[in-house]
C-alpha cells in the first residue's frame, strides 16, 4: 500500500513495528507464545494428570506405547501420558530457561561491567573470583548447593543461576574493558559525565547484543543442566515433570522407545531456536547503525 500523504523523509518506524516485519522473528515469537500458552493452560489442555500411571498405558509386556490416536505422544516407562507430561514440563523448563538463565545473565553482566569498568583491585578481585567459579566443577557446586537447601524448583533455578553466570561475566568484562578505552567514553568524561551515566547510558547499550546472544545460548544449557541435576536426584523432584528430566528418565530405553527422548529433545531445541531468532532480530532492530539496511 502506498501512503501518498507520506512526507519526503518518512518517520522512522517503531522498534516493535520493525521487529514484526521480520518473518523469522515472528515465527520465533509464535513458538515462544505456543510454549508459554502450553505451560499456562496445561491443566486445561492436558488429557491426563502428569503423574497418573495409566492402567492401559503400557503393553502387555510392560513396554511403553508409541504415539497413536489416544496418546498423541505415546506413553513413558511408567505408563504416563507423555503429552500431558510435556505440557506440565513446559512450566518447569520455562522457569528454568527464563528465570534462572535471566538471573545468571544479570549477575554475569553486573560482575563483568563492574570489573571491566573499574579495573584496579575491584576488577581483579571480581575476575579472580569468576575464574575460581569457572575452575570449580559446576555440577559439583550445584550438587553441594542443592544438597544444602531442600530441593525445589526455585532452589534449582537459583543454583543454576549461581553456576551459570561466569561465562557471561568473562565476556562482558572483556567487552567493557575495550569499550571503556574508546574515544567516546573519554569524550563523555571530558564533558563531566559521572560514572553512573557512562556505565548505564553509554556502555550498557553497547553490551546489549552480547547479552542477547548469551541469553539465548544459555536457554538450552540451563534447561539441560536442570535435567542433569534432576537425574542426579538434586533437581526437580519426581514425579514433577520437566523436559530435561523426561529425557534423562527415559534415555536408557532410547533404542526401544525413541519418541521418549526425541520429543522432549526437539522441544528444547525448538524453544532455544525460538529465543535465538527473536533475540537476533531484536539485536538488529535495536542497533541504530543497522537502520535502513534491512
Amino acid at each position: 500500500m502506498v501512503d501518498l500523504a507520506a512526507p519526503a523523509s518518512p518517520k522512522p518506524k517503531s522498534t516493535l513495528r520493525r521487529l514484526m516485519e521480520r518473518r523469522l522473528a515472528l515465527f520465533g515469537f509464535a513458538l515462544i507464545l505456543l510454549v508459554v500458552g502450553a505451560a499456562v493452560f496445561a491443566p486445561f489442555i492436558a488429557p491426563y494428570a502428569p503423574e497418573e500411571q495409566l492402567f492401559d498405558g503400557l503393553t502387555l509386556e510392560g513396554a511403553p506405547l508409541p504415539p497413536d490416536a489416544r496418546f498423541i505422544m505415546g506413553t513413558d516407562l511408567l505408563g504416563r501420558d507423555l503429552f500431558s507430561r510435556m505440557l506440565y514440563g513446559a512450566q518447569t523448563s520455562l522457569i528454568i530457561g527464563v528465570v534462572a538463565n535471566g538471573l545468571a545473565l544479570l549477575i554475569g553482566t553486573l560482575v563483568g561491567i563492574t570489573a571491566g569498568f573499574f579495573r584496579g583491585w575491584v576488577g581483579a578481585a571480581l575476575m579472580r573470583f569468576t575464574d575460581l567459579m569457572m575452575a570449580f566443577p559446576a555440577l559439583l557446586l550445584a550438587i553441594c548447593l542443592a544438597a544444602i537447601f531442600k530441593p525445589s524448583l526455585w532452589i534449582v533455578a537459583m543454583v543454576i543461576a549461581l553456576v551459570n553466570w561466569v561465562q557471561t561475566a568473562r565476556v562482558i568484562y572483556t567487552e567493557t574493558t575495550s569499550l571503556a578505552t574508546r574515544d567516546f567514553i573519554a569524550a563523555e568524561r571530558t564533558l563531566g559525565a559521572g560514572t553512573g551515566r557512562i556505565l548505564f547510558r553509554h556502555i550498557l547499550p553497547h553490551l546489549v547484543p552480547t547479552i542477547i546472544v548469551w541469553g539465548t545460548l544459555g536457554i538450552s544449557t540451563t534447561v539441560l543442566l536442570e535435567a542433569t541435576l534432576s537425574f542426579l536426584g538434586v533437581g526437580v523432584q519426581p514425579p514433577t515433570p520437566s523436559w530435561g528430566n523426561i529425557i534423562f528418565e527415559n534415555q536408557t530405553y532410547f533404542q526401544a522407545a525413541p519418541w521418549l527422548v526425541f520429543i522432549p529433545g526437539a522441544a528444547i531445541i525448538l524453544l532455544a531456536l525460538a529465543f535465538n531468532l527473536v533475540g537476533d532480530a531484536l539485536r538488529d532492530v535495536m542497533d541504530p547503525t543497522q537502520r535502513g539496511r534491512d
Partner: protein
C-alpha cells in the same frame, strides 16, 4: 652515496616506449540490493616504464578500488570489474585466473599499503617474511633467500640490516616497517609498484625519508610507480603525471607541472586551493589580550612501567617534561610535533584524563593533579574535540541527544530548552536542524566533526582543545572546518588549543605555536616567529620535511639518515636532560 644501494640496481632500462600497464574503460561495481552501483567508472590510463603516476582524490573517489582492481584483490563477491580491461604487458589481468594472478602479484606487480604494522605478520621475523615472499616466486634455497633478503634490507637503507632480519615487526618503528614493506615489494624487481598512501601514517620527517628512498630506488631500478594519495604535496614532489579522481570518475589527467600551474577543471582548482600551504598567510595577528584562559606551569606527566617480582615501578615513560605555557583569551595556541612527543598527553592532562605533576590553571581554578577528580564545574570551562569524530560520538545516540548531553550532565535548562539549544548549535556549525534525530553514522566525516564541535560549544567553554581534529578529514572538508573554527572564535571569543602534526594546517590557523620534541617544548613564539624564523634545529627539520604542493619547488639536498627518535623511557631516578628556554627577542623562546 652508500655502496649498498648498488645491490638492487644494475638493471639498465632499455628505452622502451610501450606502456607497462594500460587500463581501458575500467568499471568496478558493487552489488547492492538496488542492482550494480559503480565505484569506478570508465577509467582509462597508461603507465610507462620508469614513470610515477599519481592518482589523487579525496576519500570515496575510487582511487584505492582502482589499485585493488589492478592487483586482482577486489573483495569478492560483492565488488567486481564489470567492464573494461587492465593489461600488464600482454596479459589481461581482468580475465586472468586466480592462479595466474598469484604468480603476477609480488613478482610483476607489487603493492605497499598505508599501515605497515597491519600489513606485516606480527608473529614472523622480518627475515622469514622477506624470504617467504621471494621463495613463493623463485625456486631458490633458504640460504640464498636469506642473503637476498639481507641485500634488500640494505638497499632500503635500514640501519643494522643483519639484526633486523631476526627482529619482529613490533620491534621496529613505523618508518622502519614501511622500509621493510618497500624492501619486500621491490625484492623481486616488479615492473609496477602500487603505493597506496605509503606515507600517510608516518610522521613528516619519516615521510620525507621514505619518499626520498622511493625516488632513489625508482631511479636505480626503473620500476613504474602508481602512487595513490590524497596529499597534493606528495603528488607535487613525486609524480610525473597526475590523475585526479572524484566519485569514481577521472576528472583530469595531466603532467604534474601543468596540473599545478594551469588546472583545467574547476574541481582540480578547488582541490588545489583547499590545500593548506606553509607561509600562505599574510594577515597581521589580531591584538590578543594578555589575560590567560589557561596556564601550565612546570607540568610533568609520567607513566610508570611496573616490573620485577614485587611489581614496583622500574621505568617511567616521560611523556611530558616540565612544560609551561599560557593560552590567552580568544587566541589559538598550537602544539606541533611528531607522534609520541607528548602533545596529546598535555591535552589529556588539561581535561583531567591523566594525572599530572606541576600546576595547570584553567579559568582561575587549579586542576587537581590526580586528574579524574576534577570538579564538574571545572569541566565546563574546557572542552575537547577529538581526532576521529566517529569514535568520539556514541553510535547508539541521536545527534540531538549527543549535543544536548553536556547540558543534561550539568543540569542546565529543561528538556525543551536543551533541545532548542541543540538545534541552534546544529545550525551554528552549518548543519540543518531537521537532522537532529539522525544517528552519527548517517553523516559524513566532516559533518560528524561539526557535530563534535557543536557539542563542545554547548557549555560555552573558555577553551576548546582540538586534538588532531582535522587530520582525518579530506583537504576540502578540512579547509571548511578550519574556517568554521576561526569564525566561531571571532564570534564567541573562545580560545583554542590546537594540536596537530600538520605544519601547514598549524601555520594557517594558529596565533602562537609551541614545538614539542620528546615531551619538552623546544621552541615557542608567535606564528611569524616560529615559522618565519625557526631557530631550533628540530623546528627547522620539521618545516623542511613538509611536502610542498608545487612541483617547481627545489629542495635543498640534505643528509639522509635512517635515524630513530630516542626513547622517552628512562629508569626511575633518571630522566632526559631538562631544556632551558631562552628568549631570543619578542617572546620567541628557543631551547639552548
Amino acid at each position: 652515496m652508500m655502496p649498498a644501494e648498488q645491490t638492487l640496481s644494475g638493471a639498465t632500462t632499455a628505452p622502451d616506449t610501450s606502456p607497462v600497464l594500460s587500463v581501458e574503460g575500467l568499471t568496478v561495481s558493487v552489488r547492492t540490493e538496488f542492482g550494480l552501483r559503480p565505484l569506478v567508472e570508465d577509467l582509462s590510463f597508461t603507465l610507462n616504464r620508469g614513470e610515477t603516476l599519481a592518482i589523487a582524490g579525496e576519500s570515496g573517489s575510487g582511487k584505492s578500488i582502482t589499485s585493488l582492481a589492478i592487483m586482482g584483490l577486489l573483495p569478492p563477491p560483492a565488488v567486481r570489474v564489470t567492464a573494461g580491461s587492465i593489461r600488464l604487458g600482454q596479459t589481461n589481468l581482468t580475465t586472468a585466473s586466480e592462479a595466474q594472478m598469484r604468480r603476477i602479484r609480488g613478482d610483476r606487480i607489487a603493492m605497499i599499503f598505508q599501515e605497515p604494522m597491519t600489513s606485516l605478520n606480527p608473529v614472523l621475523t622480518i627475515g622469514t617474511q622477506l624470504a617467504e615472499a621471494m621463495r613463493a616466486h623463485e625456486p631458490i634455497s633458504r640460504q640464498e633467500a636469506r642473503s637476498r633478503a639481507l641485500a634488500a634490507l640494505t638497499a632500503v637503507r635500514l640501519s643494522q640490516p643483519e639484526r633486523r632480519l631476526n627482529q619482529y615487526p613490533h620491534e621496529l618503528s613505523g618508518g622502519m616497517r614501511q622500509r621493510v614493506m618497500i624492501a619486500m615489494a621491490l625484492a623481486l624487481r616488479p615492473e609496477v609498484l602500487i603505493a597506496d598512501e605509503p606515507t600517510t601514517a608516518l610522521d613528516v620527517t619519516v615521510q620525507r625519508e621514505v619518499l626520498d628512498l622511493l625516488r632513489d630506488l625508482q631511479r636505480d631500478l626503473g620500476t613504474a610507480i602508481i602512487l595513490i594519495t590524497h596529499d597534493m604535496g606528495v603528488v607535487a614532489e613525486m609524480a610525473d603525471r597526475v590523475i585526479v579522481m572524484k566519485s569514481g570518475r577521472m576528472v583530469e589527467q595531466a603532467p604534474v607541472t601543468t596540473l599545478f600551474q594551469a588546472p583545467a577543471q574547476p574541481y582540480t582548482r578547488d582541490l588545489l586551493a583547499a590545500v593548506p600551504r606553509m607561509g600562505g598567510r599574510t594577515d597581521t595577528p589580531a591584538a590578543i589580550s594578555a589575560d590567560a584562559v589557561a596556564s601550565l606551569s612546570d607540568v610533568v606527566v609520567r607513566f610508570p612501567i611496573k616490573g620485577g617480582l614485587l611489581g614496583r615501578t622500574t621505568l617511567n615513560v616521560h611523556a611530558v617534561e616540565h612544560v609551561s605555557f599560557d593560552i590567552r583569551r580568544g587566541e589559538t595556541f598550537a602544539l606541533v610535533g611528531e607522534s609520541g612527543c607528548g602533545k596529546s598527553t598535555i591535552a589529556k592532562a588539561m581535561v583531567g584524563l591523566v594525572p599530572h605533576q606541576g600546576q595547570i590553571t584553567v579559568g582561575g581554578h587549579v586542576l587537581s593533579p590526580r586528574g579524574l577528580d576534577a570538579p564538574r564545574s571545572l569541566r565546563r570551562r574546557v572542552q575537547m574535540v577529538f581526532q576521529d569524530p566517529m569514535a568520539a560520538l556514541d553510535p547508539r545516540m541521536r545527534v540531538g541527544d549527543l549535543i544536548a548531553e553536556p547540558l543534561l550532565i550539568h543540569d542546565i535548562g529543561t528538556a525543551a530548552d536543551r533541545r532548542a539549544r541543540a538545534a541552534d548549535l546544529i545550525r551554528r556549525v552549518g548543519l540543518s536542524p531537521d537532522q537532529i534525530d539522525r544517528y552519527p553514522h548517517e553523516f559524513s566525516g566532516g559533518q560528524r566533526q561539526r557535530i563534535c564541535i557543536a557539542r563542545a560549544l554547548a557549555l560555552k567553554p573558555d577553551l576548546i582543545i582540538a586534538d588532531e581534529s582535522v587530520s582525518a578529514l579530506d583537504v576540502s572538508v578540512q579547509a571548511r572546518v578550519l574556517a568554521l573554527l576561526q569564525e566561531l572564535q571571532k564570534e564567541m571569543g573562545v580560545a583554542f588549543l590546537f594540536i596537530s602534526h600538520d605544519m601547514a594546517v598549524v601555520d594557517s590557523i594558529s596565533d602562537r605555536v609551541g614545538v614539542m620534541y620528546l615531551g619538552q617544548i623546544v621552541e615557542m613564539g608567535t606564528r611569524a616567529q616560529v615559522f618565519g624564523d625557526p631557530r631550533h634545529p628540530y623546528t627547522q627539520r620539521l618545516i623542511e620535511a613538509v611536502p610542498v604542493p608545487d612541483p617547481a619547488h627545489q629542495r635543498e639536498k640534505t643528509i639522509r639518515l635512517a635515524g630513530d627518535v630516542p626513547s622517552p623511557v628512562h629508569p626511575v631516578g633518571s630522566g632526559p636532560e631538562r631544556l632551558i628556554l631562552r628568549d631570543v627577542g619578542g617572546g620567541h623562546l628557543v631551547a639552548m
